[in-house]
Every structure is written in structure tokens, then in C-alpha cells.
Amino acid sequence: MQMTGAKIVIKTLIEQGCDTLFGYPGGQVIDLFDALYDSRNRIRHVLTAHEQGAAHAADGYARATGRVGVVMATSGPGATNLVTGIAAAYLDSVPVVAITGNVPCSQIGRDSFQEVDIVGVSMPVTKHNFIVKHIEELADTIRTAFRIAKSGRPGPVLVDIPKDVQEAVYEFTPQEKPAACEPVQPASERRLQKAAELLAKAKRPYIYFGGGVIAGDASAELIALAEKLEAPMGCSLMGLSAVPSAHPLFLGMQGMHGHFASTAAEDIADLVLALGVRFSDRATGDKNRFSAHFNIIHIDIDGAELNKNIAAALTIRGDLKDALRRLNELVQPRKNPEWRAKIDRLRLEEKARTAYSHALLEKKLRSDSQHLTHFQIIDAVSAAAPEDAVIVTDVGQHQMWTAQRYPLHQPRTFLTSGGLGAMGYGLGAAIGANIATGKRAVLFTGDGSFGMNLTELATAVSEQANVTVVIMNNGVLGMVRQWQTLFYDRRYSGTTLNRQTDFVRVAEGFGVRGARASTQAALADALQAAFSQSGPFVIDAQMSSDELVLPMRPPGGSVDNIITEIE
């Protein structure tokens, strides 16, 4: 059937399984929006307040479901506004297809109005990108974009479509099925056998997993392996939610602000099985010290990650789910009471250190009725929130506190900008996650992060998104301030926010209910109000400016110099 390029785009999106499109119109995508109008019962369009919010929403949609998130924006500023969102998806391996309009082919390269070379701009932050200059390539390019986005290690793909291509007419035949993923070469059997031998010989095996376990849907296989080996597990920030927080072998997140027990257990391990991780600097600290005492078996679907940051004794390239299933068959169940006892002692030590650090904090705040502590806030929210809520964070201290403490039960219920660390990620992502899953999204944010993209409250209202926003409001840019406290002689340059923003009134201005809480009783009331209604709600929780995220392993440091309390 003959149709315009714009219609071909929308029909191909439908064919590829897209049910929601986050976007913002503009001059060079009017045709695409016009075509969308005809298909509005097939694709839900979510109009955001800013293209960045749309990109984060598509990312949240993808992270919460594993499906490809789709975002659309116009040329020039529309396209450049997507870039932070695309980069966030790229660094955390999230499948997103971004569609941008561009000026007609004849106008390209002439610095036309709203013309930007978005293919050039986005090249280093996309898995691949395209500009479609010929209508006959349009449908297949979009199919290829979906295939690339979700195949292997997922990632964002951008398709730039000049306006004349949207307006041209060409034959379109829909395909019956969405594009299939590219097949992955199965992990080498010989290497898996070698891994099984090493695991059998290891006295103190430890499993370090990351976002690859979630992307590869390998949680069940991971847990089965850990239980079979009786091996403790720790994870990177991106690995959170792959294993239930309460699992007896799970020691929590490791790294710069990781749990003491997981970081310390890894340090005394003699073999680390690393699954779907990239050994980021935040995870390892001093790279030479990090793996000084143990060997590493590294399994990843992306061959370029193997030996990239940390040298491994054994590398295995392959799909994690399949590799772990096969590894499970190769290993014998074992008991390891000596190792378990060591781990239990570390847990006790961690408990004591945390209790001491919290006691210090509570003592400091005893006379202070105006502030809540981070653990009071997080514990109150987790007690009040539905168990299946999708937890989303922005970036900064609140992000680390939430990562350390919020109990998670299911994969894909903890969304955070881990690699890029993009402040302003959260609200868009929370809206996307809520729309994708229908489950309530709870956004933990800070007054700094929230200030970056709070205009998306407008989207939460127009979409009636069930998003509960908890602002951990300490009046400062807390994470940078924490570095200034610890490493820059308390010279608080640029981190004190003398803003006097009344977030409750801001929320009300957007048509969102809100409440301020500086006591536990007020917080409980606010949470009760937030969770007993549908639609967005903003809680402005007051905190002291001086709370630190602990433990902290200083940048480039190691387990030897973890800071667990500050007098």
C-alpha cells in the first residue's frame, strides 16, 4: 500500500510493538504527529514538558519492562534536548529508539533554521544511529533500529528523518512480527567447564553481578548458582533489584558507597565470579588494589567489556541466562560453613558500624525537631509504599541512600541513572515506568536534582501518572558538598542553595497535591495521603544539610580506607 513516509514510520512503530510514544512536536515532525493522529488508538502519545523528560520517560519505560522505549522530537533543539536522555540510556545499556525530524535533505548542511547534525552529535552516545535520506530505506531502517536496540547488550539507537522523506510516498508492507534479536554466540562450553572447576576449587567464592543480570533476565539462574555454591553475592548500582534484598546470600551493593559487608567480603574472597558488570571506577576504586587478592571469572555478553577495566583470569563471552543455566549444570552443590561464618561476622560488623553511625547522627539531631534522617525517610516510605512499586531515583546523596537501604523484591523495580549520573533523570523515568507497568512509581529525589526537571510534574498531571515524589530536601547539593566536607576542607563553593523554593506550592501550582514533612508523624501522614490517592503527589521531606552518605570508600581508595562514620 502506498503511503507517506510519516505514516510508514508510525505503521512500522506499531509493527515493532510500540504502544507508547514519548515526545514533543515541532516544525520538522508535524507530519509524524499528523500520522500519529490517525493511529492514536494504537499508540499512546505522552506529551512531556521538555524533550529531555521524554527521553528519560522512554528510558524508564524500557528499564521497567525490558521492552524498547520510543521517543520522538523535532530537529535542532528538540534533538539536542534528547541527548542527555540518550546518553543516560547508553551508559546503562537501555534499549531506546529515538526518532528525530530534520530539515528537508535539500536544506541539510546549510545551517537552516533548527538544523543540527544530530547523527554527528549523538554518535558517541548511541549504539548506532541513522539518517534516512531515501524513503525506500525508511521502514527497514526503523526495523533495524529496533533490532540493534534490543540485541546483545541493549542500547539507544537514533533515527533522523528529514521532512521531505516524511512527506514522500512509497509502498509499505507491514511485517507480521517485530524484528528478532540478533543471535548471540553461545558461551564456550570449555570455558564454562573451566569456570566450574575454578568455582569448585575456590575456598571463598564471591559473586559480583551488575545490570547485565537484569538486562539478560538471568536472576533466577544467578540465585540458583549462588545457592548451589553457597556463595555470597554483591552487586553494582546497576545490579540492584536483580536479587531480592532479603536474600540470605545477598550482601548488598558494593563500591564507593556500597555496603561494608559486600565490599569487605569481596576483598577476602579468593575467586570473584563477575556477571554482567563493567568494573566502573565507582565500583572498583583503586584498580590495582581492587583485585590484588582474588582471581576473576568475567562473563558478559559484550566482548569489549572483558579485560577492559580489570584483567580477568577467565573470560567468557555469552548470554548470561544461557551461560548461568549451563554453569549450574556443571557445578556440584557444596556447603561452605567456614566461608559462611566469615560472612556472618562481616554482617555483624556492618550492623554494628551502621548502628554506631546512625546513633551518632540521631544524637546530633536529638535537639533538632526540624529534620528527618535519611533512614527515617526511606524506612517510612518502604513501609507505606506498595510492595510492587517501581523505585526511581535522581542522582546524588538520596540516590545512594536509597540504593543502600530500600528493600527491593523484583527485577526492574529500581531505576537509576548509574553510568551517566544524570541529575534530573528521575521524574521523567518515573512517569515512563508508571505508564509502562501500571504500578506506582516512587521517586526519591533531592532538592537539587528535582529542580532540574520538575516541569515534568505537568506531564504527571496530564497523564494522571501514579508517581509519588519524595524530595530529600537538605538545602544543598549534598553529594558535591560531601566531597567538599571530606576532601576540600569544607569550602562549600557553589553547593549551598539559598533558594527558598516552596516545593509544596510549586506542586500545587502544577495541580499536584503536596505536603511538607519535618517530623516522622508528618511524614507518615503525608505518605498516607500520597498512597491512598491516585495521581502524582509531592512530599517535601526536610533534612539536615550535614548528613553524609556512609560508608564511603574515597575515590581511588580501597577497602582499607572505607569511612563508616564521622564524629
Partner: protein
């Protein structure tokens, strides 16, 4: 141990592919000594030859990162002992009665050619391995190099081994 590597890269012959390949080197902080690109026997493919210095680890990272690029179809590290490596030089040197004979002698010994002759200047053409080109340039410095241009290296494996292992039909 640091050494020079030469890799052959077959890429889809489409616009932007050179940016993707060179951009990968820039973004990841790898240095390029030489990069050449040209068409191949197959219309859909171009061949890029990259020379760089680095250790085994850097070489591995470059290869695995290149393999991830969608438009890259094949990457191979060429064994320099089993590879024919050539570079082309065009060099313009002052044409001076005093030095002309010396220049002509050097041209002959290096199996170079004079491809343009004028009263003021000679243009020499030379192909060969990088070391030969370097030596010729060194020699010509004394006679007053006016300008020069070298292509960077191209390389093919000796014998029947070829880079391309994928059937043409699979090339987009």
C-alpha cells in the same frame, strides 16, 4: 610491550562510517598513526587500514570495540611479517643545478620516479614500506623539500588469506 599494530577493517560503504571508526579511537583515547580508506572489490564494502602503537591490551580493546560498531563487518590484526605494507609518497623538492644530480641518483636508488619536472621543482613519487619512505624523506631534507604528502599505509596479507569471510549477500 608497546609495538606498532596494523589492522584491516572491512566496513559497509556508507556515509558516516569513517566518522564512526575514527570517532571510536578519539572517544576511547586511542592514538592513530595512520588511517587510510578506499573502495574494495565489492561495491558494498570499503576497507580501512589503521596503524597504531600500543600494547597487547590496547590492541585487544581496539579490536573488540571496532567489532561492536554496526557498520564494521570484519576486523583483523595483520601479522606484519606475513603482510605486504605499502605507502605512497609525493614529494616536491627544489630543482637546483647544484643538487639535481644527487637528487636523480637518490631517486634511482630508491626506485622512485620523477613525475613532474619544472625549472624550479621536481615532484618525486615513491612507494614502499614506511621505513623506506622515511629514509627517502630524510635524504631529501638536505635538498630543500618544498611540500610533501604521504597516503598512510595500506596492507594486504600475503598468500591466499583474505579479510573477508562473509558472503557478499550478507553485506548490507
Amino acid at each position: 610491550m608497546e609495538q606498532q599494530y596494523v589492522i584491516g577493517v572491512l566496513v559497509a560503504n556508507i556515509s558516516g562510517v569513517l566518522s564512526r571508526v575514527s570517532g571510536m579511537f578519539t572517544r576511547r583515547g586511542f592514538n592513530i598513526d595512520s588511517l587510510t580508506v578506499g573502495e574494495t572489490e565489492s561495491a558494498g564494502l570499503s576497507r580501512i587500514t589503521v596503524a597504531f602503537r600500543g600494547d597487547e591490551d590496547i590492541k585487544e580493546r581496539i579490536v573488540t570495540q571496532l567489532e561492536k560498531l554496526h557498520d564494521v563487518k570484519e576486523v583483523e590484526v595483520l601479522d606484519q611479517h606475513e603482510t605486504v605494507i605499502r605507502e605512497l609518497l609525493l614529494l616536491k623538492v627544489r630543482n637546483d643545478a647544484e643538487t639535481r644530480q644527487d637528487i636523480m641518483a637518490a631517486v634511482e636508488i630508491f626506485r622512485s620516479k620523477i613525475v613532474d619536472y619544472s625549472k624550479e621543482a621536481l615532484v618525486c613519487e615513491l612507494t614502499g614500506e614506511t621505513s623506506k619512505i622515511d629514509a627517502f624523506i630524510d635524504l631529501m631534507k638536505a635538498y630543500g623539500i618544498m611540500e610533501m604528502c604521504r597516503t598512510g599505509i595500506v596492507a594486504l596479507e600475503r598468500g591466499e588469506n583474505c579479510l573477508r569471510t562473509i558472503p557478499e549477500a550478507a553485506v548490507e
